[in-house]
């Protein structure tokens, strides 16, 4: 059986994208709904969005990845095709305890995408390879 929370989350994100594309603003009720559905990470995710921390990295090969500058200055790479973030909060809260739908980085990526607030960056294929293979890189 499906999870109703997941469906609500999907619907909320769709509504958010639609509303934002129309009025370039998120009304209060949607904000509160975000907090209700996604929990405490919603506030931190919005903070990351405010600070334009999400970068959409693309390469000539057509690959895309998302890099989020976390609060501690660390860069986390999330992908378009799967629901995963390498941060410890995700491993613990989402994977281990199943207490939350996602971490703040993932939500920031999703919100930035929905609102079109991602920074764009072009990298070479080789750099993209490095990113995708999670090789240790300079964080800032």
């Amino acid at each position: 059986m499906g999870s109703s929370l997941v469906s609500v989350a999907e619907q909320l994100l769709k509504d958010l994208q639609r509303t934002y594309s129309e009025i370039k603003q998120i009304p209060d009720d949607l904000l509160i709904a975000l907090r209700f559905v996604f929990g405490p990470c919603a506030l931190q995710a919005l903070d990351l969005v405010d600070q334009h921390s999400v970068t959409c990295v693309s390469s000539p090969s057509g690959r895309k990845a998302f890099q989020v500058l976390g609060g501690s200055g660390r860069l986390y790479t999330c992908f378009t095709s799967c629901h995963y973030c390498p941060c410890p909060a995700f491993s613990f809260t989402v994977l281990r305890r199943n207490e939350s739908l996602m971490c703040k980085h993932l939500l920031a990526v999703i919100l930035s995408q929905a609102m079109g607030l991602c920074q764009q960056e072009q990298v070479s294929d080789q750099q993209m390879t490095h990113i995708l293979s999670r090789q240790p890189e300079a964080s800032t």
Binding site: M1, G2, S3, S4, L5, V6, S7, V8, A9, E10, Q11, L13, I26, D28, L31, I32, A33, L34, R35, F36, V37, G39, A42, L43, Q44, L46, D47, V49, D50, Q51, G70, G71, S72, G73, T80, S81, C82, H83, Y84, V94, N98, E99, S100, L101, M102, I110, Q113, A114
Partner: protein, 843 residues
């Protein structure tokens, strides 16, 4: 409000910081009224000053309060002191922040989290216009900045050089404060107050007064700050807005909860949802409860976040009131509407035992929903957005449209859950109906016990249990255990009623999940009805291309259905999915090369041989033939085939009777017999029926000639010359003419015989003879063939040699007999071939 302002003014004058620190250090009791009165008198004088009046009118809740412009004059008059004190405290009050007054005059700004709870409380007392809930939460950037600046100044400004006693004097002033949280107690400090002189106060005030250090350093948000509790959000950003909204909501919730405890709830207030909880499930930290809306009765799902869930502890059976504002969301693809924003929820305790629950309630074990797969992204970019929308499960929508009847057996089985509850209804096609012997069904009933289902009561006369092989629209199979039957006619009736029809399975329970390895017999039947003659539906309810390459499923479910829970859907004659059994000739069946296959045929029974009459291990061999095998042109295949009836196959009483009476000719129809390694078997799914004369056969029956390869337990035709007679087994005895019983008694006159069984009297009883002879067959050399002859053959043999003394062995020797039909019951190939035969007669 004015009164409060006055109070504030007084406080300002009285170095509120010192007063606060007093409270912070353990909440010193406030002084009683007499002391305060004395203080008030003191304070009144200041009130008269114009400066204070002016300050009174200023906004309390001023976030943009200007920085204190403090003059550096140390020897300020009280007016100035008042001025300065007022401004700083005003800022302080509006900011709602406080730092403990540092012992040294100039203390660097302390970390904000060092603020103690007591200080908060004291702050609340002083801060009149600021929202109390803002204090413990993350404040905005601007606020913090000002707090920092203010508090810095403040800390510098107010040096707690005064003695605690003095401070407490000032604290007595707060008796006029409206904050109910603060408790006041009488203390001996009242006495101290009177001793205090105004001049001393001024001196101490002046000591504290100094040019405050303007705070220049801002705390920069360093990378390590992410661990700090307090965050500064971007001004005007989304986070700041959400923070504000959320704090407001939190305070509203706590206020409401406080109110709820004191007042009784009125369920009939407009906008209040009353829900009865049916089921609780945990989904990613939130509790999703399946509820019934009272009094309308419609089902919905309510989502409660962690805090609310801890507060109300939803348990099936509870009644919950949800006060507005809540939100109702109807999503396509979701069965029920979802209720969100359920912060204002209250449980109505109905049962007494709920009230008596004391202490921390142990967490009710709640089923945790399977986490959503990581492959499912909640958000996709525009390109794949379309595909997401398309893949909304249409199946569910279609199912709901058709009055809630499921089309998928697998879904219905999943609904049963691990607890083995009932599920349904499902639409299925009945492919086969068969009956298993009662001994077999007992074994399955034991499994049912495990599945928490009550097996149907078996009466003593029950001969078997009906089973049905069903298939749903998606190709999934299931074996249904239906009711027990006690007669052949019942079996036939149900078979005729259900077979090939589309039926509605209203309710069923899962007994077992069967796999190909565990149940090869059932899966050989499934293979025989696969692939289906029409296209099946795929998951999207789209017709799949003909499933030629698709192999039959490797698993299915065994379900138990109570009587009456399965009904035929009217309006259908026969379903297109039904694949009836094809009748084949025995020749075709024998020509089939497959290792194991199901076959159906009609045949004449030539001979029945019981190999083991033990009830549980009953094994009967039936020798059958049909026209295809008897045909002249059949040279490569044998003329007769043996069919083994295993104990798992139920033989109807009509068939048993026919076999016992040796009614000739006996034609039987075998459906779904199994041919394995060249041998035909009847297993539990095989149905044997009596057939009226559907075909005729040319008599006499032709059988294979006896040859060196003749197998044990087969029929053959033998011709040979008698070479010896087994005298040990040569008998003759009288039998009754009428009933052929051997219980005869000689009457007294020694002339008549009386039959004890039927009472007939006869002069000459009939004679029964038994004779076994050894043959020499031309087709077999170096083989000893012994045959037990039938009555007729013996008679014809001996009649030619009849003499008065009896029968002479020598006269028999050398006679040629045959061709005789015989059953090979012993084959011994150890040293020389030794074959034992039994003559059969087919007339």
């Amino acid at each position: 409000m004015g009164k409060r302002k006055k109070t504030l003014d007084m406080r300002c004058v009285l170095f509120p910081d010192d007063v606060k620190s007093t409270f912070g250090k353990g909440g010193k009791a406030r002084t009683s009224t007499p002391a305060s009165k004395s203080w008030e008198r003191c304070g009144d004088s200041f009130l008269d000053s114009a400066v204070i009046h002016k300050l009174q009118t200023s906004e309390k809740k001023s976030r943009t309060a200007s920085k204190v412009a403090l003059t550096g004059s140390k020897g300020a008059a009280t007016d100035e002191a008042v001025n300065i004190a007022w401004s700083s405290s005003e800022e302080e009050d509006s900011d709602g922040d406080n730092n403990p007054p540092p012992p040294a005059p100039r203390q660097p700004l302390r970390a904000q989290k060092q603020r103690s709870v007591d200080q908060h409380r004291s702050l609340r007392m002083f801060s009149t216009g600021v929202d109390t809930d803002e204090l413990p939460t993350i404040d905005s950037d601007s606020e913090i900045e000002e707090e920092n600046s203010a508090s810095k100044e403040h800390s510098d400004f107010l040096n707690p050089a005064v003695s605690p006693a003095e401070i407490s004097d000032y604290s007595s002033y707060d008796c006029n404060d409206e904050d109910p949280n603060e408790s006041r107690a009488e203390s001996s400090l009242a006495a101290d107050t009177s001793k205090q002189s105004v001049s001393e106060w001024i001196r101490s005030a002046q000591a504290i007064l100094q040019t405050p250090q303007k705070q220049t350093t801002k705390t920069i948000k360093t990378p390590e700050d992410s661990s700090k509790k307090r965050r500064r959000f971007e001004r005007g950003g989304l986070a700041e807005r959400l923070n504000r909204l959320h704090s407001r909501q939190r305070s509203a919730i706590s206020f409401w909860r406080h109110q709820c405890n004191s007042t009784t709830s009125a369920a009939d207030r407009p906008g209040v949802l009353t829900l009865r909880i049916v089921g609780v499930r945990e989904e990613c930290g939130m509790q999703a409860t399946l509820c019934e809306r009272l009094p309308e009765g419609e089902t919905c799902v309510a989502l409660f976040n962690k805090d609310t869930a801890v507060q109300i502890q939803p348990v099936p059976g509870d009644i919950v009131h949800i006060y507005p504002p809540w939100q109702n969301l109807i999503l396509e693809g979701e069965r029920y509407p979802i209720i969100l924003n359920t912060h204002f929820s209250q449980k109505v305790c109905m049962e007494i035992k709920a009230e008596s629950a004391e202490g921390p309630k142990s967490a009710v074990a709640v089923e945790k929903c399977r986490p959503p797969p990581l492959t499912r992204c909640l958000w996709r970019s525009e390109t794949s957005q379309v595909s997401t929308e398309r893949s909304v499960p249409c199946k569910q929508v279609v199912e709901l449209a058709s009055t809630g009847v499921r089309k998928s057996l697998l879904d219905a089985v999943e609904d049963c859950g691990p607890s083995g509850s009932q599920s349904g209804p499902v639409e299925v096609v009945v492919q086969r109906v068969y009956c298993i012997p009662i001994t077999q069904s007992l074994h399955r009933a034991s499994l049912q016990h495990r599945a928490l289902a009550k097996p149907p009561p078996e009466s003593a006369q029950d001969i078997g249990r009906l089973c049905a092989l069903v298939q749903d629209g998606y190709g999934m199979f299931g074996e249904l255990l239906l009711q027990c039957v006690s007669s052949d006619s019942e079996i036939q009736q149900v078979s005729d009623e259900l077979e090939g029809r589309v039926c509605l399975l209203r309710a069923f329970r899962v007994v077992q999940r069967l796999t190909r390895d565990r149940c090869p017999s059932l899966f050989s039947l499934i293979d025989s009805v696969w692939p289906p003659p029409v296209d099946l539906k795929s998951g999207d309810d789209l017709l799949q291309p003909p499933s030629d390459g698709v192999s039959a499923p490797n698993f299915c479910y065994r379900l138990s259905v109570q009587q009456g829970h399965m009904t035929v859907l009217s309006g259908q004659t026969e379903s297109a999915v039904h694949r009836p059994a094809e009748l084949q000739t025995l020749r075709e069946i024998l020509q089939d090369e497959s290792l194991r296959c199901r076959c159906s045929f009609q045949a004449i029974v030539l001979h029945k041989q019981t190999l083991s009459s033990n009830e549980s291990e009953r094994e009967i061999l039936l020798f059958v033939t049909d026209r295809s095998l008897q045909n002249e042109s059949n040279t490569e295949k044998s003329r007769s085939v043996s069919v083994c009836l295993s104990s798992s196959c139920l033989i109807r009483s009509s068939v048993t009777q026919a076999l016992d009476t040796q009614r000739k000719p006996l034609i039987l129809k075998f459906r779904d017999a199994v041919k394995e390694h060249g041998q035909i078997f009847c297993w539990e799914q095989t149905v044997i029926q009596l057939e009226e004369e559907s075909f005729s056969i040319q008599w006499p029956i032709i059988l294979d000639n006896l040859n060196p390869e003749t197998q044990l337990f087969s029929l053959c035709s033998v011709t040979g010359v008698i070479v010896a007679v087994d005298e040990n087994t040569a008998f003759s005895w009288p039998i009754c003419c009428r009933c052929e019983s051997c219980h005869l008694e000689i009457r007294e006159n020694e002339k008549e015989f009386l039959c004890l069984v039927c009472g007939a009297v006869m002069d000459e009883p009939s004679t029964k003879m038994q004779l076994e002879v050894f043959l020499s067959c031309s087709s077999l050399s170096h083989c000893t063939v012994k045959i037990k002859l039938q009555q007729k053959t013996i008679k014809s043999l001996l009649s030619s040699t009849r003499s008065s003394e009896g029968h002479n062995v020598e006269h028999v020797l050398g006679s040629e007999i045959g061709p005789l039909s015989a059953f090979v019951h012993i084959v011994n190939r150890s040293q020389t071939v030794w074959i034992g035969l039994e003559e059969l007669s087919f007339d």
